[in-house]
Amino acid sequence: MSERINGYADAVLAIAHAEGDVKGISDELFVVGRAVDTNDDLRAAISDARMPAERKIQIMDDLLDGKARAATKGLVSMVVGAGRGADLGKIAAAVAERAATSAGKQVATVRSAVALSDDQTSRLATALAAKLGIEVDVKVIQDSSVVGGLITTVGDTVIDGSVRTRLNRLRESL
């Protein structure tokens, strides 16, 4: 991870600490970062050097209007206004990792075809902690290519229980 990404992550985390809502802001930033990483048009728009910064900020404000905290929107505007919109996903991931580490946890990235309920997320965090012996901060990424089930990544460990993987195994056996 580059020094620039680390610097932005540290700055965002400091502001989140100052706001007193590290987990909430970190979670929302993670979702916004994933949206930027998976949407080529959005990423191209907010990283277009010819587009004025005000216009890019306006795009993100419209996108997050009524869906994110004011602090989150402000942090996103700061990053996009600085011309680092394309790095938003990496910055959000670094923030999540730092936030989890500061809380004595490790980030567990969970890919799912559907959104998980709070109960499912909580039970998943408990099961992962029991299996891995560490507290985890679950970050859910909605990914339709998973088809069904979950793929959990914690550090270098991958626990794959997706329908996609089962279909791939079936394809290989064929």
Binding site: S112, Q120, R123, L124, A127, V147, G148, V163, L167
Partner: protein
Amino acid sequence: MLLAQIQVIAAEGPNGKFIPSDAKEMYWAIAAFAVIFFFFVKKGVPLIREALDKGQAAAVADATAAEAAIAESRAKIADATAELGDADAQLAQIMADSQEAAQQLRVDSANRTQQLVNDMWAKAQADVESMKTQASADIQAEVASQAMGAAEQVVRASLDDAGQSTLVDNYIARLGASS
């Protein structure tokens, strides 16, 4: 007797023949003849004999030379015959070598052609096998792709919210059970 007859004839006088009628002339003639004969025998005969000897020696030399020439010619003929024989032998050897080389060339050419045919056949068989394998793999991949596409569509269609939730719950349950 002969002398007496000559004397009688001479006494008869001139008779129109070559015998002189005067006996003295005849005596002188005989004496002259004797002298001439003597000198002839004394000087002429050796000269003639010498000439004859020389002629004979020359003839012998000539004959010897001729025989030598004949011998030399025969030797040359023998040499030429031998050389001709050698030439014939060499020609026969060349012919034999040529035939052997031609035969070897035919054999080599046939072997090369056979090897080429064998190689081409082996390559053709390998290509056919490769194409068969590739075609089989392509068909399998296509069948698998089609089947997987269909399977995925069926799975997606059958997975409603409840099904998705069940899958997540099952995942969490397996995770908890394995800890």
